[in-house]
């Protein structure tokens, strides 16, 4: 996979974020997310909020929505586990829409973090959060705006899980 293909994957995900009407993106990096986060940081149409721990991102996202914006949080699935209380007692208890764009470590094509991969979808299901796994970057471009619409219509967070098939930078 060449550098151009890599940029295209992240760019397609960014296009999906913009088409979703997202205004603010809170991020905490996984190495597979760095191209996407760099694009978010450079894009004048988005407010980028770098985080130090993912749980604060759920609070920031809730505030952004209550103030009239549309929030997304870009994080790894380890970080998603850090957010479980905030998702439950802020996002879901107050019924606040937000997009969770989660790097799916431990999924097909990965060589590590298998325990994280095993629990990711069961945890989301237990929290009552619907999730989608795009098949490639073009599919992510199509799904992300639809996920944002579902989130706004259902007043719930919606997760889109990004695998190595979507962001191919480190494909072996």
């Amino acid at each position: 996979m060449g550098a151009t293909d890599t940029a295209t994957d992240a760019e397609q995900v960014l296009d999906g974020i913009l088409a979703a009407g997202v205004t603010h993106v809170a991020t905490l990096p996984d190495i597979n997310l760095v191209d996407l986060i760099a694009l978010v940081d450079r894009d004048d149409r988005l407010v980028h909020v770098p985080l130090s721990r993912e749980e604060e991102g759920i609070g920031i996202a809730a505030g952004v929505y209550l103030g009239g914006g549309m929030p997304a949080i870009v994080m790894q699935n380890a970080g998603l586990l850090n957010t479980c209380n905030a998702l439950t007692t802020t996002a879901i208890q107050f019924e606040v829409p937000m997009l969770l764009l989660v790097w799916y470590a431990g999924h097909l094509g990965d060589n590590a973090f298998m325990r994280l991969g095993e629990v990711t979808e069961p945890v989301l299901t237990a929290l009552g959060i619907r999730s989608f796994v795009p098949s490639d970057a073009a599919d992510a471009r199509r799904i992300i705006p639809e996920a944002a619409r579902l989130s706004r219509q259902s007043m719930r967070p919606i997760a889109v899980l990004l695998t190595k098939a979507v962001l191919r930078r480190f494909a072996s």
Binding site: V49, R53, E56, I58, V64
Partner: protein
């Protein structure tokens, strides 16, 4: 100094600012003296300053006030560098430090023990927050609070208070009603639409 004395003084100063309270005594005490429509009562320990930051970023011309507690801030210390990096001029973050987990039984927090206790104002300064005040009198609080509302923030006010809670009436709304009440107030006062959702095709007549 008692927390509710500061909140009573703040209520006389606050105009159209949005107010976010932590899930402790500040929440029910502010509910008695503040404007209900502008008040979000957070239920996740530690998250009120993050929610306030999100509001301040989404509405950069609107004042946003956070009434936090020591136990709550200690659970989400990463909020301080995150706020500092965003530099929201319209955010005033007040931490009422009573050195105990008051709402859950009075166990000491990490700010207790005098010299050995954590200094929250020093933490805020070290995190890069622009305007940091440490106050231990109502007059000192009012002065710092007024200067924060004038802008130029983010402002952080560390207010040492006694571990005393005012007896308050229960607030008879749930979180979802709290959300709608705040959002409708923001929509009305900002002239924006937040909750507009497309109607189902069967209703819209498509």
């Amino acid at each position: 100094m008692k927390r509710y004395e500061c909140l009573d003084a703040a209520a006389a100063i606050v105009t159209d600012q949005l107010v976010v309270t932590n899930n402790g005594g500040a929440s029910t005490e502010w509910a008695e003296v503040g404007l209900p429509e502008a008040h979000l009562q957070v239920k996740t320990l530690g998250l009120c300053s993050s929610i306030g930051l999100g509001l301040a970023l989404a509405l950069p011309r609107r004042g946003v006030i956070v009434f936090d507690g020591d136990g709550s801030l200690l659970m989400n210390l990463s909020t301080l560098p995150t706020i500092a990096r965003q530099r929201p001029a319209n955010l005033v973050h007040v931490v009422f430090d009573n050195a105990v987990y008051e709402a859950s039984g009075g166990t000491p927090t990490q700010t207790a023990d005098g010299e050995a206790g954590a200094d929250l104002a020093a933490l805020a300064r070290a995190a890069g927050i622009r305007n940091v005040h440490a106050v231990d009198s109502v007059d000192g609080f009012v002065s710092a609070f007024r200067s924060g509302l004038d802008g130029g923030g983010p402002t952080f006010i560390h207010a040492r208070v006694e571990a005393v809670r005012k007896k308050t009436k229960p607030v008879p709304i749930d979180e979802v009603e709290n959300k709608y009440r705040l959002v409708r107030y923001v929509e009305r006062t900002e002239g924006i639409s937040i909750l507009a959702r497309p109607l189902p095709a069967s209703v819209a007549g498509r």
